[in-house]
Amino acid sequence: MNLAEGVQIVSFGILAAAVLISALGVVLLKNVVYSAFLLGGSFISMAGLYFLLNADFVAAAQVLVYVGAINVLILFAIMLVNKQEEYAVVKGAGVRQVATGLVCLGLFALLGTMVVSTPWAISSATPAGDSSIVTIGIHFFTDFLLPFELVSVLLLIALVGAIVLARREFVPENLSASGEDEALMLPERQREMVSSRDDN
């Protein structure tokens, strides 16, 4: 059984609208936490669009990596620096917003004309569909074996680097000497610096 043509069109419309509305919310909302959650909604709608394009593995990877990992990291980063502060109103904010809007509109027009004018090589072959993941798996373990194994090394490097950075074993000397602005200092950093000095 398959999805009917009309169902596909309706789903595409809903997903495209969801992508656009949540992306606009990311940009326009003042609260950064709402923006982060709406970014997750935008990513999930993108995954739905990938499903409609027969790319189920890409959609699953999109949900796992972008929604599960990247968006969680963004939320964590917001939680770590989440200080309620009163910002002074910038002078001439309206002019700045209009200028930014014009630049963005120009960029959008440029990309739009590029998309329309490019002669896309659309293949008429039947998509692989359900067997695409098996094909990807076979490629991983035959002709793309070395990159596949190198990915694990890359992930290992990322993990070790993240731990080293988060533990702050290498705090620059000038950072501890100069009285850094208290608002910029995380409470954790002070304690870690003391402990790392004891280790040395």
Partner: protein
């Protein structure tokens, strides 16, 4: 052209899932008493009294859990095609996947030894 099979069930599930929060909120709106007061607006914390605001700065230590999670999340993406195509790949692919996992287990051991997994 849509060639994937079985997605009409996903669509059905999505529709049902969309109705769950609507029904839950509507039902509670119909049933609950309409008293007003300061206690009504407090956060439900499983019976505990909520202390302080939720908009506080969190400890950077939690970021490490997120980073370790991201690494193993990406690992899942790479192991997923292997698991799906397992029956067609044979013993060599199994050994290769074991090497892949072993390299990442080294990272896990490193994180463990450095105390990155301790919740304190």
């Amino acid at each position: 052209m849509f060639v994937l099979t079985g997605y009409e069930y996903l669509l059905g599930f999505l529709l049902v899932c969309g109705f769950v929060p609507v029904l839950a909120l509507t039902a509670s709106k119909l049933v609950r008493p309409s008293r007003r007061g300061p206690v009504r607006r407090t956060t439900y914390e499983s019976g505990m009294e909520p202390v302080g605001g939720a908009w506080i700065q969190f400890n950077i230590r939690y970021y490490m859990f997120a980073l370790v999670f991201v690494v193993f999340d990406v690992e899942t993406v790479f192991l997923y095609p292997w698991a799906v195509a397992f029956s067609q790949l044979g013993l060599l692919a199994f050994v290769e996947a074991l090497i892949f996992i072993t390299i990442l287990v080294i990272g896990l051991v490193y994180a463990w030894r450095k105390g990155a997994l301790e919740w304190s």
